[in-house]
Amino acid sequence: MNNQQQFQQQDPIQQQRQQHAYQQSQQTPNGYQPQPQAAGGLAIASLILGIVSLIFLFLPVLGYIGIITALVGLILAIVARKQQPTGIATAGLILNIIALVVVTIVFIACAICVSEVSRIAQQLR
């Protein structure tokens, strides 16, 4: 009995499982295997960090912590999307990108910092 006949005589559920496993291995030719549970956790974490970053950016004292949470949230969102592109991961990605754009435009001003530090440094000399 050849392989095809053997396959046709197998339990249909087992056939489906083998087909699914074969298709999954075909979808990741570079050897990168998705891990659904870990990806779900990362996506949720990125979404939470995205929300937190946006809230922090509008608070006077915590705005600068928002920069750090946005950077971490962005990495988690990208890893989650690469592993398993879900709506939560996409939402986390978008929120963290928005937070970073706001940080870039509003907070990053090299002029202000350099002047402050140079003024303080000169006072100390």
Partner: protein, 275 residues
């Protein structure tokens, strides 16, 4: 030609007086806006090149975001390193330490730190997601000088990274938080913006057919590093630190040329041996 240059000079002198954009009582620093526009332009260039580099647009976009993280973290870390000798005294004597931390976190970036950060994060992305790093370099290398060009125009608006005193061809930065208001300063930021734009044109148009990302990146370093080394002699903001009369950026330029030369020679010898 001379009349056009004179008009352009008057325009730049006028623009140097406005570091911020006012929209309905909201103040937006033009430096941040130019950085944002530069990153956006770099992203479009990288996405356009991703087909030639045989990378998916999705991977190009994610690698770009990783690069942005490297830009922020690398630039900040090198800035803190350049003022590291001042930090203990600053913290000891600061009345409001939170205010000092805020100032250190939000401002002050060194481009070479950003470049090293971008490179490191692209290496990290290619390793984590099994993408050929040479292809990433092929897509992203021309985008770097283009984004830099926009950033330097932003520096001109803010008055930071200014040049030395120059009565002949200087401009006044009347509202800058950094540049002294009553002294004419050489607009070295515009020279660098123009030069980096030319480097972008060289990498993207002249060397259009190149398929080797390592060659393209090495070419960028061999053109930009000497250019930056020379420009540093016209920089007037000497807070960034210096050693034996050369600034931090000049030392980094020399180091980058040396490292890339050694790697290039090593790679050439390896390819000769395998042939």
């Amino acid at each position: 030609m001379l009349a056009t240059m004179a008009r352009a000079w008057i325009l730049f002198s006028f623009l140097s007086m406005f570091p911020n954009l006012m929209i309905h009582n909201i103040t937006l620093p033009l430096y941040g806006i130019m950085i944002f526009l530069g990153c956006l332009a770099g992203l479009f260039v990288a996405l356009g090149r991703s087909r030639r580099a045989a990378i998916k647009k999705e991977d190009t976009f994610y690698a770009f975001l990783f690069g942005i993280i490297g830009l922020i973290v690398g630039g900040k870390l090198l800035y803190l390193l350049t003022i590291s000798t001042e930090l203990p005294a600053l913290f000891r004597n600061a009345i409001d330490k939170f205010e000092l931390i805020r100032v250190l976190l939000t401002g002050g970036f060194v481009f070479f730190g950003s470049l090293i950060g971008i490179f490191g994060m692209l290496v990290g992305y290619s390793w984590a997601f099994k993408i050929d790093f040479k292809k990433l370099l092929l897509a992203f290398t021309p985008a770097i000088p283009l984004a830099q060009s926009f950033g330097r125009i932003g520096c001109f608006f803010a008055g930071c990274c200014h040049g030395i005193k120059s009565e002949a061809c200087g401009v006044y930065f009347l509202h800058s938080a950094v540049a002294p208001p009553n002294i004419k300063l050489f607009p070295v930021q515009l020279i660098e913006a123009f030069g980096t734009f030319l480097i972008f044109c060289l990498l993207h148009f002249v060397f259009r057919q190149v398929q080797d990302g390592y060659f393209l990146f090495a070419l960028y370093i061999f053109v930009y590093a000497p250019f930056r080394f020379i420009l540093e002699f016209w920089r007037g903001d000497d807070l960034r630190g210096s050693l034996f009369r050369l600034s931090t950026s000049q030392w980094i330029s020399l180091l980058l040329i040396l490292v890339v030369s050694v790697l290039w020679i090593y790679r050439s010898r390896n390819s000769i041996r395998t042939e």
